[in-house]
């Protein structure tokens, strides 16, 4: 149950991580660019990342660019953006089958990696800025995406709750707040943001899956090293959210049949392993206290779970239910948290939570994406556990450590998204 893992520092702000396992028939090449979050620039960086995977200098039209990937046996180049605490991470990634499995063992990995590098380093530009046409189309698409977030009631409620939970912090800025900046953006301002991304961001290069050839690796490293760069220092992974002086109670409403409840608890001290065991016992495993009590015993909801925004030291409990059951659910949730804080849990519950987390760690070995995420987070958190090592570490946590961690969490925010029409059926 091991993988061939190696992390190498290449230059200031550039590192290479290789995670190989011969059982995989494909590989992923990812270039992650990490910068401190900036409210005004984030939407521009996000739009730039989108534009990089629509076309490139060699394939200026989107259709040509897509066809080029199609011809490489469904090679897939995508971009994504992510915010963790006070940092933002932009990833341009390639997924491609191994040369071993192409028909007639055709060599495609070098071509696919060239295409990835072309996207990142040689975008399609006109007069020194992004093409007006694709700029307008990608911006319009992003604005539609933001508008359509209302379609997913859980996601929309979660974003609205984020504003209340992290009020006054950068983390309270949600996609709806980016609309004005996007409307003011120009092909030039987004191109400038792209140049800044390349020169200032810390660059983490990943190869995961079946091993790639030395020439493929060299191709990527030479291209990145050739850039003129002055990278910023990495931000700390953790940026704890301060506990509010008074608990914030907030309600909003939208068109739906269900109410959505979000309750946030925050802590000042965060010891990852016992905190994760606490959260697992409370609400993130199939036999958690919230599942067994709020759902199974009281039949109040379909889901009631707990998740951890670990970089913010914040625990968030979520449930979807009828508005008249909100108080019952809140009482039941508080009771379960208090019980764990008092040490009122069995050894069996604790063992089950340890087993659940340990097994979850080991499951990472079977996905090149999960392995990539695993080792990236190890780097961000300043730890270096393999999945197997962390599975063992969970086993060593004591009951007392869990109680201490649970007691550190205090109620911070209660956010409810109510149905506008009292939850009556939608009109056909």
């Amino acid at each position: 149950m091991t993988v061939d893992y190696k992390r190498t520092s290449i230059a200031k702000g550039i590192s290479l991580t290789e995670i190989y396992d011969k059982k995989f028939k494909s590989f992923a090449a990812m270039i992650k660019l990490i910068l401190p979050y900036d409210r005004d620039k984030f939407p521009l960086w996000e739009l730039a990342a989108e534009l990089l995977t629509v076309s490139c200098k060699s394939y200026p039209e989107k259709e040509q660019f897509m066809l080029a990937q199609t011809e490489l046996y469904n090679a897939n180049i995508t971009s994504s953006s992510l915010r963790i605490a006070d940092s933002c991470i932009f990833t341009i990634s390639l997924s491609c089958i191994s040369d071993e499995y192409t028909i007639g063992k055709e060599k495609i990995s070098e071509k696919a990696v060239s295409l990835l590098l072309g996207c990142l380093l040689e975008p399609f530009t006109e007069n020194g800025e992004f093409s007006q046409k694709y700029f307008e189309l990608c911006r319009s698409d992003m604005l539609d995406d933001i508008a359509s977030m209302i379609n997913n009631k859980r996601k929309y409620s979660m974003l609205r709750s984020q504003k209340a939970i992290f009020e006054g912090e950068m983390y309270s800025i949600i996609p709806f707040d980016n609309v004005e900046t996007l409307n003011k953006a120009t092909p030039q301002s987004v191109y400038e943001a792209y140049r800044e991304l390349l020169s200032k961001a810390c660059c983490e290069i990943f190869f995961t899956g079946c091993a790639v050839s030395q020439s493929v690796k060299k191709q990527v490293l030479d291209s990145i090293l050739a850039l003129e760069r002055d990278p910023v220092d990495m931000m700390d992974f953790y940026s704890p959210s301060p506990l509010k002086d008074r608990v914030c109670y907030k309600e909003e409403s939208f068109e739906s049949r269900q109410a959505h409840l979000y309750i946030a608890f925050k802590t000042k001290e965060f010891d990852e392993l016992p905190v994760k065991l606490f959260v697992t016992m409370l609400g993130s495993s199939p036999t958690s206290r919230l599942f067994m009590n709020v759902r199974e015993k009281l039949s109040l909801c379909y889901y009631c779970d707990a998740s951890l925004a670990d970089s913010k030291y914040t625990l968030i409990i979520r449930s979807g239910l009828d508005p008249e059951n909100l108080d019952k659910a809140k009482t039941a949730i508080y009771e379960q948290i208090e019980a764990i804080q008092k040490g009122d849990f069995t050894d069996e519950e604790l063992d089950n939570a340890k087993t659940y987390l340990a097994e979850s760690c080991l499951a990472n070995y079977d996905s090149k994406y999960e392995l990539n995420t695993w080792y990236f987070y190890q780097y961000l958190k300043g730890t270096g556990y393999s999945p197997e090592e962390k599975a063992r570490k969970f086993r060593e946590v004591t009951r007392e450590e869990i109680i201490r961690s649970a007691r550190g969490f205090a109620l911070d925010t209660v956010f409810v998204m109510l149905p506008e029409n009292g939850g009556e059926p939608n009109e056909a």
């Binding site: 059982k23 199609t70 490489l72 859980r154 979807g320 069996e348 499951a363 009109e427």
Partner: protein, 426 residues
């Protein structure tokens, strides 16, 4: 007695699995994945939301049951007489789950270390129904919340509105979970009746993939699955005309951008014929309406559609075949007109050979990617089994398909047998 398996293999991508006809009546599919850590298993009954009128030796005549009962049954099987199934799984570290779709109910687990105990549990609890007035009543509130949650999704509402337009009576138009109203009629007696009819081992299959050993899996099957008499299950479906019930519909929901769904009703197909036609139809839609097609380029650049536009072949061996084109658009009617014009144009247009060849390579690549994932391997074995073909039939079809086959699939685009549904805010 040693069971002899059917060995199902693809030399092209160097993958294989074995199919055993177990004496209990269960078909057991095992795909051993060298080097992988995890194991994924599906224990499934050919029982979905469409099977709402049936008979067996025990029921005598055909009986009809309330909408959503297959899904309700799936929820209730997780409760044993003495404890919850999830609690038993928790001791093993495996994660159990289940789903009900139109044609199947499947119980699954995913394990990273030992798979033997989770497999015993899986085969055991699915064979031990325990329904009481009290525990059936308790589940009603939970499922009602699940139904309300899914009803809040405009894309799901649009999907079922489309099916309601396309079909007169065929039960695929009914939401898998039923409605808050229909589940009120579900009783322990009805659940037992459905269970005894559809969870007969002759109507079930096990698909398991990953870090497994064939002998161990079979020995657990021998221990847990006992030969069962076939109950001669037969399902009745209403006669469904080839035409559609309604051609247009509009619903209102709070949405960011209006959405549309165009569905074209085609003749139902079965087995390999279904596999071949669905692959040809998929390639035809990709050539004419995919994100690299000239139509999409024009529609996207003119702002008619955004990148959410997609197409899908929604079909099953049990008797439906729909082609769907769906997405968001500020002016859905303009999209409809544009698609209709394009359909006419592609009837006389030759297949773009270069793109066709590229798509074949891409489809082949997608198959290679699939076998990198243990859950996808298990799911694929079960999915293809339910369609009465094998896992590698897609590769076989792709290796033989011609541009003419794809060109012929254009004839399926008959707008006289289509419905167009939209959703927008009030």
């Amino acid at each position: 007695m040693k069971l002899e398996p059917e060995i199902i293999r693809s030399d092209l991508i160097d993958e294989e699995y074995k199919l055993y006809h177990h004496p209990s009546g269960v078909d057991v599919m095992i795909m051993k994945k060298e080097g992988f850590t995890t194991t994924e298993a599906y224990f499934a009954a050919r029982y979905g939301s469409v099977n709402n009128c049936f008979k067996t030796v025990q029921t005598g005549d055909y009986i009809s049951v309330p909408d959503g009962i297959a899904h309700y049954l799936e929820h209730k099987l997780f409760e044993n007489e003495d404890c919850g199934v999830m609690e038993l799984y928790a001791k093993t570290g495996a994660v159990a789950n289940a789903f009900t779709s139109f044609n199947v109910t499947a119980y699954t687990f995913s394990a990273s270390s030992d798979y033997k105990e989770p497999l015993r549990l899986l085969l055991d609890f699915v064979q031990k129904p325990y329904f009481t007035e009290e525990n059936v009543e308790k589940e009603r509130g939970i499922i009602a919340q699940e139904i309300k949650m899914t009803n809040d999704s405009p894309s799901r509402a649009l999907f079922f509105e489309l099916l309601d337009c396309l079909f007169y009576e065929y039960p695929v138009k009914i939401d898998v979970a039923g409605s808050v109203e229909s589940i009120q009629d579900i009783t322990p007696e009805l659940l037992y009746k459905c269970y005894n009819s559809f969870y007969n081992l002759n109507n079930m299959a096990l698909a398991i993939a990953g870090n497994v050993d064939e002998e161990t899996v079979l020995s657990i099957c021998d221990e847990m699955l006992k030969p069962t008499e076939n109950n001669e299950l037969s399902c009745r479906f209403p006669d469904e005309p080839e035409t559609v019930k309604r051609k247009r519909s509009h619903i209102t929901r709070q949405v960011g951008v209006p959405m549309f769904n165009l569905g074209i009703k085609c003749k139902p197909l079965h087995g390999l014929e279904l596999e071949k036609t669905s692959i040809a139809a998929d390639l035809m839609l990709r050539l004419n309406f995919g994100h690299s097609s000239p139509w999409y380029k024009k529609a996207f650049e003119e702002g008619l559609v955004n990148s959410s536009f997609s197409y899908e072949i929604f079909c099953d061996d049990i008797g439906y075949f729909i082609m769907m084109l769906t997405g968001e658009a500020k002016d859905p009617e303009a999209v409809y007109r544009s698609i209709a014009e394009e359909i006419e144009a592609c009837r006389t247009r030759d297949i773009d050979e270069k793109r066709f060849r590229a798509f074949l390579r891409s489809e082949y690549g997608a198959e290679v990617f699939k076998y990198n994932s243990v859950p996808e391997c298990a799911e694929s074995m079960l999915y293809h089994y339910l369609q009465n073909v094998n896992c590698f039939s897609t590769l076989d079809v792709l290796s033989k398909i011609t541009a003419d086959d794809v060109k012929n699939a254009v004839s399926l685009l008959d707008l006289d047998k289509a419905a167009f549904c939209t959703v927008s805010s009030k």
